[in-house]
């Protein structure tokens, strides 16, 4: 546990030092979402109808930006070996890295989503459902994303492989996330969709770090 906390604090310190990289995902998110009103017109009914989809797809793409560096940078400079020799099991390394990715990327996206939803004229009743979906949603993006990143680390063209590997995995997350917000917007209960997201999260929480940890050991060989 001490080792995991040490890894987490190391990751967070690195994120602070590489502030530009850290902010890139958030800025990218703000930029793409802001482009939509220009592309599809400012009519509130169209925008408000499309807002959940816009926000979800943009969040998903933004979360991918920093993923290939999550383990890639450590692999290239030899730090991954040092982590694997730290006495922390692979699952612990992967869990700490995933949590760091969520704190640095997922959490800011989640916080930025509310003002963006208002900007896109999303129905007010739907905003809590959107955020309630994004909370497990961003965590799932970090979990699946980190697993994919651990699998492709060391491969040539890892940056290309990563979306191909992870996007199919996160498609259910996108579907249920948008469905929750849509249900709330049309006066239905978002509960079943949110429960499905929560169920996905409960499955991914133990399995993704486990798989990522095994993949990291493999990458070092």
């Amino acid at each position: 546990m001490t080792g995991m906390i040490a890894i987490l604090s190391r990751e967070l310190r690195l994120s602070v030092r590489h502030g530009a990289d850290t902010l890139a995902a958030l800025l990218f998110f703000l930029l793409i979402v802001s482009l939509f009103p220009f592309a599809i017109g400012p009519a509130p009914e169209t925008l408000g109808r499309m807002a959940p989809g816009i926000i979800w797809v943009s969040a998903l793409l933004s979360a991918f930006l920093s993923l290939d560096r999550l383990f890639g940078a450590d692999f290239e400079d030899g730090s991954l070996d040092q982590l694997l020799l730290s006495g922390v099991p692979g699952i612990g390394i992967a869990a700490a890295k995933t949590l760091a990715h969520w704190i640095v990327t997922g959490l800011p996206l989640l916080l930025a989503a509310a003002p963006l939803a208002v900007m896109l004229r999303m129905p007010e009743d739907a905003i809590p459902a959107l955020l309630a979906g994004l909370l497990p949603g961003t965590a799932l993006l970090s979990l699946f994303g980190a697993t994919g990143a651990a699998i492709v680390v060391g491969a040539r063209r890892a940056g290309m492989l990563l979306p191909l590997l992870v996007l199919p995995l996160v498609t259910p997350v996108l579907i249920f996330g948008v469905a929750a917000a849509d249900a709330a917007a049309t006066g239905q209960s978002p509960r079943p969709h949110l429960l499905l997201l929560a169920a996905l999260l409960m499955g991914a929480l133990p399995l993704c770090p486990l798989a990522a940890g095994v993949a990291l050991r493999g990458a070092a060989e």
Binding site: R10, D77, Q82
Partner: protein
């Protein structure tokens, strides 16, 4: 005590080395010699438990060391051919992780390699030799009994080599073990030499 029995490594289709056996007692040192590509780095990574041997066994106090590779990792401090430093962190911050794991003092490790004045400089500003010294400082911070050093003198000046010699002696006097791959003579008294021949 570390004992290797018939270690063999194959990378891809190529046999790197075969039947490597040695015994390293507490306080012992082993120098790996051999031409470029003879498998010195591979053997070090194998001894660290990062790579699995294709045949043979690695024993730590007569039990299989690679059964639990996480546990074995904690016994090992590795200086790879890369320095594993983060350019954006200062010299002292680069050591913080290792210090947190072992509970030892960063200042002492920096002083041992004459890096105190550089402690607050980002690692990207350091010269190649200074980076190597910083990586060595991380090894000296660890509480691991087995040091695996891949070309530890790379880029070091004479004074730094002397300091390294002092660290190596102190580690061995405390019962630690050292395996070093090198082309130059290292200040390791009574070290055995293992010559790897390219297969």
């Amino acid at each position: 005590m570390l004992r290797a029995e018939g270690l063999t490594a194959i990378r891809g289709e190529r046999l790197i080395f075969r039947d490597v056996s040695f015994t390293l007692p507490a306080g012992g040192a082993l120098i790996l010699a051999g031409r470029n590509g003879a498998g010195k780095s591979t053997l070090l990574r194998l001894l660290a438990g990062l790579v699995r041997p294709d045949a043979g066994r690695l024993l730590w106090n007569e039990t299989d060391a690679l059964l639990d590779r996480t546990e074995h990792g904690a016994r090992v401090a590795l200086l790879g051919h890369q320095d594993a430093l983060k350019p954006g962190l200062t010299a002292a911050e680069n050591l913080a992780f290792a210090a947190r794991l072992s509970g030892r003092d960063v200042g002492e490790a920096l002083a041992a390699l004459d890096l105190v004045e550089l402690a607050e400089l980002p690692a990207r500003m350091l010269s190649a030799g200074q980076k190597r010294r910083l990586a060595l400082a991380r090894v000296s911070l660890s509480a691991a009994p087995l040091w695996l050093l891949d070309e530890p003198t790379l880029g070091l000046d004479d004074m730094a080599v002397d300091r390294l010699g002092f660290l190596l002696t102190r580690h061995r006097d405390g019962g630690g073990m050292i395996v070093a791959a090198t082309h130059v003579s290292l200040p390791l008294r009574g070290a055995e030499t293992l010559r790897l021949n390219a297969a």
